[in-house]
Amino acid sequence: MTNLLRVLVVSMALELRQLATSRFMLFGVIVQPFFVAVTTMFMLRHRPDFDPVYVVVGAALSGIWTVILFEGTWLIGGERGAGTLEYLVAAPSSFMLVVGSRLVGTMAFSLVSMALSWAIGAWLFGYSIAIAQPVPFLVSTALALVALWATGMVFAPLGVMWRTVGAFLSTMEYPVYALSGFLFPILLLPGWSRPASLLLPPYWAALALHGTSSGESLAFPLVAVWGLLLLSTAAAVGVAWPLFRLVQRRARADGTLALT
């Protein structure tokens, strides 16, 4: 158990250091939420129903989603490109644990976008960014991050096993913003898109965070939303587990752990 925790901590730390020097990820976690928050606040601030908290949470979610989408999908491929994948797979520690721990680091890194969005709303625009239900909001944040981490755990083996799937996932950045209601309610979308929203963990994450931050009543009881976030986490881990075994087995059988 101690060793598992140590692998978790050192892998998280390595991921944070890697991401902190990655221009693409810094763009995703800082520049993009900045633009999203600023443009949305400029666009909507004169509307009578404008809620700055909604924009802050939405902009933060956009940064979190971008980071987990791209890092999750390309983490293993990136290790392969750097030539480190063989050394990770050949180490006695569980490869899934190593990748999972790295993605925990990714989630921690993505929180920068939440803090930044807050700062933009509070300091740049001078809004009072008050959380209506602080404790439920913290619980929602934790469950949302875990659910998005688990989604990344499914993306990681998929992205490296089938490059087409990886490329497809990479195009899902903005569609998921829209379908999950990060910045505007999904009621604005056509009805036929609703089932797709309900299948997305980011939708339930956004619902919980928007609801607890603004205090508005939700279409579903908050406990049910939390339950669905936990359920989606369990389902994603349940899918990721055999995928990780498959990706290792196939890579060893096909000789694709290295690019050369």
């Binding site: 060793n3 140590r6 692998v7 050192v10 892998s11 390595l14 250091r17 890697q18 020097t21 750097a82 030539g83 480190t84 063989e86 050394y87 990770l88 797979v89 050949a90 180490a91 006695p92 520690s93 190593v98 060893r252 059988a253 096909d254 000789g255 752990l257 290295a258 050369t260």
Partner: protein, 338 residues
């Protein structure tokens, strides 16, 4: 687990076996085409059988694509053989992969395989954790290895600023973190400057003296000659020779090598040389605008006049005659120079 395995050229080995390959085959499948995809099979290993004794420094020689790296990757559990079996310290590399991994360290040639944005020391600490070294041992073990590979002064710099030689030495330090009894080194000195390569060879020699079993692949014949207890020559996925460097050199002990520096030699002229009765093999090495022909012949200096005659009007520069080396034995076995 000792053996006296029959091998090509009747040479024998008698030690406790640390590594065993039995009739190992490995086939790679690649596809070509976009609309009409065709699958092509490439046989990388074709029934390779050999064993390496405990504490032995064993060299695998062979041209590019011979199957050297494939052999190493199978033994390091990174590739599953298509057929046959491979064992390290008695453990099957497919069924007991996890246990094999705890007992081996490996270094693949080249600059990749390290985290460039963190320091050399951080790279070692990270992998030490992945190998579950006790926390109290990680610091001292890393320092010991950094000192051994001569990187202590640069250990806190980011790896991206390291030279190729420094990266290679860091690779070696990482491979030794958990003090594995078996080491696999795939072209560890490739691309290093002469001094760096010599230092790395000294380190490898030291590891052998400490009782490690080492499997080394290399393109450098003198490296195999000076380092290895035994050498296996692999070509097209098959073992074509096995023995000590001295035993392999004996394959060409009755031969001399005439080296002719020529300019613009034609394939026809080379064919004429090969057709001479007193010529055993001709290797052509391209060196910028000139070529060096290495002709193996039992006649020594007496062959020179016949060779020049067979070359016809080809412009000839320096001509020298020398005794055959391990490289010449290799050229005779493989039949060409890369």
């Amino acid at each position: 687990m000792s053996d006296a395995a029959a091998v090509p050229f009747g040479l024998t080995v008698s030690r406790m076996r640390a590594i065993e390959l039995e009739n190992v085959r490995r086939i790679f499948r690649t596809t070509t085409g976009v609309l009409r995809r065709r699958t092509k099979e490439v046989v990388a290993l074709d029934g390779l059988t050999l064993s390496v004794g405990e504490g032995e420094l064993f060299g695998i020689l062979g041209p590019n694509g011979a199957g050297k790296t494939t052999t190493i990757k199978i033994l390091t559990t990174l590739l599953i053989p298509s057929g046959g079996s491979a064992r390290v310290l008695g453990l099957d590399v497919v069924r007991d992969a996890q246990r094999v991994r705890r007992s081996i360290g490996f270094v693949f040639g080249g600059e990749r395989g390290l985290y460039y944005r963190v320091s050399g020391r951080d790279n070692l600490h990270y992998f030490a954790e992945l190998y579950a070294l006790p926390p109290r041992e990680i610091g001292p073990r890393s320092e010991e290895l950094l000192a051994m590979v001569g990187l202590r002064d640069r250990a806190d710099e980011k790896v991206e600023g390291y030279s190729r030689g420094m990266k290679q030495r860091l690779h070696l330090a990482r491979a030794l973190l958990h003090d594995p009894p078996v080491l696999f080194l795939d072209e560890p000195t490739a691309g290093l400057d002469p001094i760096g390569a010599r230092e790395l060879r000294d380190t490898v020699r030291g590891l052998r003296e400490r009782g490690k079993t080492i499997v080394l692949t290399t393109h450098y014949m003198f490296e195999a000659d000076t380092l290895c207890d035994r050498v296996g020559v692999v070509n097209e996925g098959k073992l074509v020779a096995l023995g000590t460097p001295a035993e392999l050199k004996r394959l060409v002990s009755d031969q001399s090598v005439v080296e002719l520096e020529v300019f613009g030699v034609s394939p026809e002229a080379v064919a004429r040389l090969r057709a001479l009765e007193s010529v055993d093999s001709v290797a052509v090495e391209q060196r910028e605008l000139r070529q060096v022909l290495r002709v193996q012949t039992p006649l020594g200096e007496r062959a020179v006049a016949r060779l020049l005659e067979a070359l016809g009007g080809v412009e000839v520069g320096r001509v020298s005659v020398r005794e055959a080396t391990l490289e010449d034995a290799y050229v005779r076995l493989i039949g060409r120079i890369e």
